[in-house]
Every structure is written in C-alpha cells, then in structure tokens.
C-alpha cells in the first residue's frame, strides 16, 4: 500500500485551489472522510464552490495546517 501517493494527489488538489485564491469555508467530517468546501475570495466568483473529498489522515492534517496558516497571515 502506498497511501503517501494518495496524500500527494490530495495535497496537490488542495494546493491548486489555494493558489487559485480559494479559501476553506466549510468542513464536514463523517464516516466517508473529510468533505472540504473551497470558495474563491473574489466576490464575482462566490458561486463557484469546490468540494474535495479527502481520504487520507495526512490530508486531513494538511488542510487544517493550511487553514491555520491562512488565519495567522490574516491576523
């Protein structure tokens, strides 16, 4: 099993959305994993919501660390 490869794929998806100017607006965690909702900061594109289903524990850590980082930068 190479779970790390799945993590790298999920990390790339998270990074791409962040680079596109999206921010995490909602997280729902249930039996099927974490469902993380991203929305652009740009007001004109507010209706463009992307939801990632994250399967790996490393991804669940990663998006939380990214969320904290963004908050720290903001403050």
């Amino acid at each position: 099993m190479h779970e790390y490869k799945i993590f790298l794929k999920e990390k790339k998806q998270i990074d791409e959305l962040m680079e596109q100017g999206c921010q995490i607006v909602s997280v729902k965690e249930n039996l099927n994993g974490a469902f993380v909702q991203f929305r652009p900061i740009d007001e004109e594109a507010l209706d463009q919501v992307n939801t990632l289903r994250l399967l790996t524990p490393d991804s669940r850590k990663y998006f939380t660390n990214q969320l904290r980082l963004k908050r720290q930068v903001k403050n």
């Binding site: 779970e3 850590k61 939380t64 969320l67 904290r68």
Partner: protein
C-alpha cells in the same frame, strides 16, 4: 548520597519503601525481619474479624521464561485474633521505633465498628491507618473490601467514620475494579482521607487445567476469582496513579502500589505522583532483601540526576501525562533500520505487513545480499517494528521535522470557527 526520607501525609519515613498489606506482613516475626533488611515501613496485614482461609491460595503466570510475571491470590485478611496482632505490632514498634507501621483495617460498613477498631490499633502506637476498600475476593462477598470500594458514597462515609475516631493519618486503599478510580479517590478525599493508596489487586482467574478442567488455583475441584498483582499489573497501576495525581481538584498524597519490584519501578511511580511506595509480590518472590537493591539503585539514580532528595522526584512526570486530545498531531517519527546491526530475521517486515502499515520493503543490496528498508513517507511511526526487533539498536525511531504543533482539541476548535 541523596536523602531518601519522605514525609507522606505527615508520616515521616526513612525511605519510601513500605511493604504492602499482604502475606509478608502477617506477623511481627516477618515485619521485624523486613525492618532489619531496610524497609522503611510496613502496612500490617489487614485486621478485622479473624477469617478462615482455604488451600491452595496462590497461583502465578510464568511467561516465556519469566517466573511470576503475574500473581494471583485468594487469601483473605488476617486469620489471627486482633489482640495477638496488636501485641506483635506493639513489640515491633518498640524494637523499631524509627520504622513506620500502618494498620490496614477492614470491618463492616458500620460506624461503631470503625470507631472501635481505629481506637484499638491506635492505642498500640501505629503511625497511620489504611482502610482496605480494595480486596476483590471473599471479603467482598460479605459487603467489605472492593464491595465497599466500588461505591463512592460508601468510601466517603466509611472514611469519615474512621476519621471521626482517628488521631493518626488515614490512608484509603482503592480498588482498580472500577471504571473510573478518580471517582473513589475524590470520595475518599471528601470523606477526609489524608492520603490514598492504589492499586489493590485486579479481579482475575489465572487459568484452567486442560486435563482436569479445574480452575487454577482450585480448592477441591472448585475455584473462584482472585486478586491479580505482580509485574504484569504495573502499567495499569501506573496509569491509575497518574489519573489520580493529575486531578486538579485534589492534591491528596498517593502511595503507589502495583508491580513495583525494582528501583526503576519505584522512580517511575514517584515521577507519576506517588510520594510513598508499597511492595508485596516482589518481596514474596525474592525475599525482603530486595529492598537493598532498591535503596542503592534509587540513591544512585538521584545522584546521577543531581537531586538531593527523593521528594524532588515526586510528580515530575504528571504534567506530561495528558488526555489524548492534548497530543500534537503534527509530531512525526519514522523507523530507520541500521543495516550494520540488522540480522535480517525479517520480523519487522512481517510485523509491518501483517500488523501495521506495510512500509518495510525487502530488497537486494548492491552486494547481492537481502536487506530491508523503511519507506519513510508511508511510515506512521507506530513503533511496532522496533518493538518486535530482537536486536537492540537495529531499528531507531527518528524524529522528523514537521509543522507547528497542533493538538486534536486545537484542530477541532479551529474547524468550529468556520
């Protein structure tokens, strides 16, 4: 040389090593031999209405060559009249005035009975009292021992009755046969206890004879559950001591009991919050003179650590013992196999494949020899490979740099802000 003396709830002892209430403290002869060997104190075998015992009484778990990894007994409290015990306590105290004698007590949950026995034992000069609310077998069927100790209201009430009559410190001995030992620890403190001691023995059945189908031990073909103790219970006892020590609503002194047999065990219990220590199974297995090694070892350890007093150890690890939610999710360690030390037994590979996260690969090195390596990116740092490895130093757990610390509680708090 460090100072090994302790002050346990007002009881001054030359060292932290006391014999626990049990077979080794059944008589003045034994306790005096123990004091000659160097024990700082002894908790006299539980006094109460004299009982009748059965034979046989003890059994042991021998595990992979280690004799007495665990020990089980179905012996009850003292089978000798109170006045005989009291006379021997007085004689012993006279011969050994500097050593501590604690009277372990067990009577029915009746106020007058507690008053009566407390006064009688204090009259012969004991240094303190230990209320036995822990014994899991025999006496529990009569409403005493752990039957009392599993009900916080009964612990509080009986402690307060003992305190009404007591002039010496009252220690409450707790049973581990309960979901949350801090509930009874709290009840004891509410009842006015000066200290708690833990753990008493754990409900157990040592085994079944596969030829006769009798229990081990058995009494004429019938058996009953007993109290489990010895090295195997140490992790359980240490955890319960830690749980009590970290309660912020009570800083009641703790006497640690459960699998203590070496100075290392002693140091661990003190670091986890025990001011005093009690030993039984190790003394039954090896004799009273094991205390010599325990005293020497603890002394040397304190010297190595530059500590002047054994009291400086007490509770130093308690702040490090936390709820799971306070642990850092971002902390990362991975396994690394030292090729120079590896004997290629493949135990780590099999353990990782079958019991962990499938990240140890077999390969052939440049010299054509079989070798093992860890795929670090997939390693979750569970430790299993280093635990099963038969060669010390062949597998190291290496710390990897990671993100800033974040606990589960902090993570959930962050997500709740969305």
């Amino acid at each position: 040389m460090a100072d090994l003396s302790i002050n346990f709830a007002g009881i001054k002892s030359m060292n932290p090593f006391w014999l626990a209430s049990g077979p080794p403290t059944n008589s003045g002869y034994q306790v005096q031999r123990a004091f000659e060997a160097g024990w700082g104190g002894a908790v006299w075998k539980t006094l109460g209405d004299p009982i009748v015992n059965v034979t046989s009484r003890f059994s042991a778990l021998h595990y992979n060559g280690q004799r007495v990894a665990g020990f089980n007994n179905i012996e009850l409290i003292t089978d000798r009249p109170l006045d005989v015990n009291l006379r021997e306590i007085a004689e012993t105290k006279k011969k050994f005035p500097k050593q501590v004698i604690i009277a372990s007590l067990m009577v029915e949950p009746v106020q007058e009975k507690w008053h009566e026995i407390v006064k009688k034992v204090e009259d012969v000069g004991v240094d303190g009292l230990e209320l036995n609310f822990g014994c899991p077998h025999g006496m529990a069927e009569r409403g005493m021992g752990s039957a009392s100790g599993q009900v916080p209201e009964l612990v509080e009430k009986q402690t307060s009755w003992a305190k009404e009559a007591a002039e010496t410190p009252v220690i409450v001995k707790l049973t581990p046969n309960i979901t949350d030992i801090t509930a009874t620890a709290y009840a004891a403190s509410q009842g006015g206890a000066d200290a708690i001691s833990l753990i008493n023995t754990i409900n157990s059945l040592m085994g079944i004879d596969l030829d006769t189908w009798n229990t081990i031990p058995n009494v004429a073909g019938k058996g009953t559950h007993g109290g489990y103790c010895g090295p195997a219970v140490k992790p359980i006892a240490l955890s319960m001591v830690g749980e009590c020590a970290r309660q912020t609503d009570s800083n009641i002194p703790i006497s640690g009991i459960g699998g203590i047999g070496t100075w290392r065990d002693a140091a661990e219990f003190m670091l986890m919050g025990a001011t005093g220590l009690q030993v039984c199974t190790a003394a039954m297995h090896h004799g009273f003179r094991i205390v010599e090694d325990m005293i020497d070892g603890l002394n040397n350890y304190l010297d190595e650590k530059g500590l002047a007093s054994v009291m400086d150890l007490v509770g130093r690890s308690v702040p490090k013992y936390r709820d799971w939610g306070d642990l850092d999710l971002n902390h990362r360690v991975v396994a690394r196999i030292n090729q120079d030390q590896c004997i290629h037994c493949n135990k780590c590979h099999i353990a990782c494949e079958d019991g962990a996260h499938q990240c140890i690969e077999m390969y052939t090195d440049k010299n054509g020899k079989p070798a093992l390596k860890v795929r670090e990116e997939d390693c979750v740092g569970c430790n299993l490979c280093s635990i099963v490895c038969p060669v010390d130093g062949a597998i190291d757990m290496i710390e990897k740099p990671g993100e800033e610390p974040m606990t589960w509680n902090e993570r959930q708090a962050l997500l709740n802000t969305l």
